[in-house]
C-alpha cells in the first residue's frame, strides 16, 4: 500500500540546512496498523506530512497504492489527498461553525457527492463511531473524545486507502485515549490501513507494528502483539 525508498528531507533554516529524514525505507501492506514512534525532533511528523502529501520529499520515492507520488501541483495533491487519505489531527481540527454531520460530510463535498447522499453517508459514519445522536451538535458542544471520534468519522467518510493519524490521543486523557484507540482498532479490523504517529508507549502497543525513528533514521521496525484497547474501556 505504502512504499518508501531512500527518503530524504531537509529544511533550510537561514544559512543552516537541517537534515530531518536521512534515507528511510519501509513498506506498509494493506490492512496494517502501524505506529511511528520517536521523541520530538526525530522526524516523525515530517514523515507523516510527506506521506500525507502536505509536504514534498527531496530525494527518494514514495508510492501509494501503486501510484508514484511525485511532482504534484497543489490541485493534484488535493485530489490525491481527497481520494487516498484520511487525516486525524491531535487538535481535532473540526470546523467550528459546522455541526458534527456537516464536518463529516466535508470531504464528500470536495468529492462532488450530492448533498443528500453526503448527509446519509456522514450519518452512517457518525453511527459507526457512536455519535448518531450528536449529529446536529457543534464541535464546542462535544467533549474531546467525541470531537476526535467525529474527526475519525470525517477521515473515514471519504473511504480512504490509508488513515493518517497525527498524535490522535495527544490531547486526551487516558480513558478517552483508549476509547479512541478502541475505535481505531475496530476500523483496522475492517481491513483499513492505518498509520499513527505517537510518542506514547501504551498507544503504540495497541498497534500491530512499531516503527521507531531517531534522528531521521529508522532504528527499529518490529511487529508486536497487539494490546486490545477494549479491555481498558
Amino acid at each position: 500500500m505504502i512504499e518508501i525508498k531512500d527518503l530524504h528531507k531537509s529544511y533550510k533554516m537561514g544559512t543552516n540546512t537541517l537534515h530531518v529524514l536521512k534515507g528511510l525505507n519501509f513498506t506498509i501492506a494493506e490492512g496494517e496498523l502501524v505506529a511511528i514512534m520517536g521523541s520530538s525532533g526525530s522526524g516523525k511528523s515530517t514523515l507523516l506530512n510527506i506521506l500525507g502529501m502536505l509536504d514534498e520529499l527531496d530525494e527518494g520515492s514514495y508510492t501509494l497504492d501503486g501510484v508514484p507520488i511525485k511532482n504534484l501541483n497543489e490541485t493534484k495533491a488535493a485530489n490525491y489527498r481527497n481520494k487516498f487519505l484520511g487525516f486525524v489531527f491531535q487538535s481535532f481540527n473540526l470546523i467550528n461553525y459546522k455541526n458534527a454531520m456537516e464536518n463529516v460530510a466535508l470531504p464528500l463535498y470536495y468529492q462532488k457527492v450530492p448533498r443528500k447522499e453526503r448527509e446519509e453517508r456522514a450519518l452512517k459514519y457518525l453511527t459507526q463511531v457512536g455519535l448518531k445522536e450528536w449529529a446536529t451538535h457543534l464541535p464546542n458542544e462535544l467533549s474531546g473524545g467525541q470531537k476526535q471520534r467525529v474527526a475519525i468519522a470525517r477521515a473515514m467518510a471519504a473511504e480512504p486507502k490509508v488513515l493518517l493519524a497525527d498524535e490522535p490521543t495527544g490531547a486526551l486523557d487516558s480513558t478517552t485515549s483508549y476509547e479512541v484507540m478502541d475505535l481505531i482498532q475496530k476500523i483496522n479490523d475492517d481491513g483499513n490501513t492505518i498509520l499513527i504517529v505517537t510518542h506514547e508507549e501504551d498507544i503504540a502497543h495497541m498497534c500491530k507494528r512499531i516503527v521507531q525513528l531517531k534522528d531521521g533514521i529508522i532504528v527499529e521496525d518490529k511487529f508486536v502483539e497487539q494490546v486490545r484497547a477494549s479491555q481498558y474501556v
Binding site: E74, A78, R81, I95, Y97, Y110, Q111, P114, A158
Partner: protein
C-alpha cells in the same frame, strides 16, 4: 465556471457566511451604507432636477420678456433720456426679421408697472384685479390651463375686439356664487360689460401673475384704455434649438434700429431671459447629479474595500479552517472560488438591501416634501444607474475578493495545521 451554477457551491458559501453572523453583518453594513448613500444622493439630485423642471413647466423654457425703458445715449438728433415705447408693429418686424423666434405675444397690463388695477364689478360686488390685454399666442409661451367648458382668447376675439374675458379662480370665487356657472356670465370691467368665456387654473410659474388675473383680447384692451398701438412688453419664445442669448441680442438690436437708438445703448430696452436662467439652473442640477454620482460611487468603493479588508482578516482567522479544507481535498481553485464568491455574494446582498432602503428613504422624503414650496418632485434613480452600481459592485467585489483569496491559497495546508 460550472461551479457558479452548482447548488452545492452556494450551500457551502451560504453556510459559511450565515454561521459567522457578526462578521457577515459588519461586512454587509459597509457596502449597504455605500449603496444607500449612492441611491439616496442620486435620487435626491434627480428629484431636485425634476423640481426645477416642473417649476418651469408653465412657461416655455427658452422664453424671454422685452420691455422699453429710456435711452442713455443721444443718437440721430434725439436727446438722452428719451422714454421709449414699444409698438404693435415691432412684433411683426421681429417675427419677420428674426427667424429663431417661434412665438411673440405683445402684452399690456393694468395693475402692474405703475398702472392702477382695473375695477371689476358684478351685481353688488366689486374688486380690483390685474387685467391683461393678450393675444392667443401668449398661451403658446406660457400655457394656461382653462377649466372645462371655457376657452382662452382666440383670433376672432382679437379681430372683432370682442368684450370677452378669461378670469382667475379667485375672481370666480369672489364675484360668482358657489354653484353658479361663470361661463357666459357678465362682469363689469371699468364700467364696461364683458362676457366670461373661461376660468384659468392658477399655477405658480415663478413669474408675476396670480389667481385673480383677468385676460381680455389685446384689441379690446386697446379700445378700453385708449392705448393705441402701444405695447407694455413682449413675451417671446425662441425655437428649442435656438441660442436664447443670441436671439435676445438680435431682438434688442432690431428694436434699437427701429426706434433710432444708439447701437451701444444698453438701457433703452430691458429684457429678462428666462431661457438663460433656465440653462443656468439645468447646469447647476447637472452638476449636483454628477457630484452625487461621484460621491456615491466613491462611498460604494469604500464599502467594497471594507469587505475586502474584513475578508482579509477573516482569512487570517480562518487559516486553520482553510488548511483543514485543503487537507480534506479542497483544491486551491476551490478555496479561491469560495473566498471570492463569499465576497461577491456579500457585496450583492448588501447592495440589494442598500438599494431597497435607499428607495424607501427616497419615497419617505418624497411624501414629506409633497406639500411644501421646494423644487423637489418624484425623486427616482434611473434603472441604468442602479444596474451600473450593481455591476460595479460585482466587479469590485470580485477584484477585492481576489486579495484575500490569493492569501488563502498561499497558505500551505501544512503551515495551517502546524500546532502552535
Amino acid at each position: 465556471m460550472q461551479f457558479l451554477f452548482d447548488r452545492n457551491t452556494w450551500q457551502e458559501i451560504f453556510g459559511s457566511i450565515s454561521k459567522n453572523k457578526t462578521r457577515t453583518v459588519i461586512t454587509v453594513i459597509g457596502v449597504l451604507w455605500g449603496i444607500f448613500i449612492y441611491i439616496a444622493l442620486s435620487g435626491a439630485a434627480k428629484g431636485m432636477d425634476n423640481g426645477f423642471e416642473s417649476m418651469f413647466e408653465t412657461i416655455a423654457k427658452n422664453s424671454m420678456f422685452v420691455w422699453a425703458q429710456s435711452t442713455s445715449m443721444p443718437y440721430e438728433g434725439y436727446k438722452t433720456g428719451r422714454q421709449m415705447q414699444l409698438k404693435l408693429g415691432d412684433a411683426t418686424m421681429i417675427e419677420n426679421r428674426i427667424p429663431q423666434v417661434e412665438y411673440i405675444a405683445p402684452r399690456n397690463v393694468m395693475g402692474f408697472f405703475g398702472s392702477p388695477p382695473a375695477t371689476i364689478g358684478r351685481k353688488n360686488k366689486t374688486g380690483s384685479y390685474t387685467l391683461f390685454g393678450d393675444f392667443p399666442q401668449f398661451t403658446k409661451i406660457a400655457p394656461k390651463k382653462i377649466y372645462d367648458g371655457g376657452r382662452f382668447i382666440n383670433d376672432e376675439d382679437i379681430d372683432q375686439a370682442r368684450k370677452v374675458a378669461v378670469i382667475g379662480e379667485r375672481t370666480q370665487k369672489e364675484l360668482f356664487d358657489k354653484d353658479e356657472d361663470p361661463i357666459g356670465g357678465f362682469i363689469k370691467i371699468d364700467e364696461v360689460y364683458f362676457q366670461v368665456v373661461g376660468v384659468h387654473k392658477f399655477e405658480q410659474s415663478g413669474g408675476f401673475g396670480g389667481d385673480g388675473d383677468i385676460f381680455i383680447p389685446f384689441s379690446t384692451f386697446k379700445k378700453l384704455y385708449n392705448t393705441g398701438d402701444n405695447v407694455g412688453w413682449f413675451s417671446i419664445a425662441a425655437y428649442d434649438d435656438a441660442d436664447v442669448i443670441k436671439v435676445e441680442e438680435n431682438i434688442k438690436n432690431l428694436l434699437k434700429n427701429i426706434h433710432h437708438v444708439h447701437p451701444a445703448d444698453d438701457r433703452a430696452f430691458g429684457s429678462f431671459n428666462l431661457g438663460e436662467q433656465f440653462n443656468k439652473i439645468v447646469g447647476f442640477a447637472d452638476g449636483i447629479t454628477f457630484l452625487s454620482l461621484v460621491v456615491g460611487i466613491a462611498t460604494i468603493l469604500a464599502g467594497v474595500i471594507g469587505i475586502g479588508n474584513i475578508l482579509l482578516i477573516s482569512v487570517k482567522e480562518r487559516t486553520k479552517e482553510l488548511g483543514v479544507r485543503r487537507a480534506l481535498g479542497a483544491t486551491p481553485a476551490e478555496v479561491r472560488n469560495q473566498i471570492i464568491l463569499e465576497s461577491v455574494f456579500l457585496t450583492v446582498i448588501a447592495g440589494i438591501m442598500g438599494i431597497i432602503i435607499g428607495a424607501m428613504t427616497l419615497a419617505m422624503i418624497d411624501s414629506f416634501t409633497q406639500d411644501i414650496e421646494f423644487p423637489y418632485t418624484n425623486p427616482t434613480v434611473p434603472i441604468p444607474y442602479v444596474l451600473g452600481a450593481l455591476v460595479i459592485m460585482v466587479v469590485l467585489g470580485t477584484l477585492i475578493g481576489l486579495i484575500p483569496a490569493q492569501r488563502a491559497v498561499s497558505i500551505k495546508p501544512i503551515d495551517a495545521l502546524r500546532e502552535e
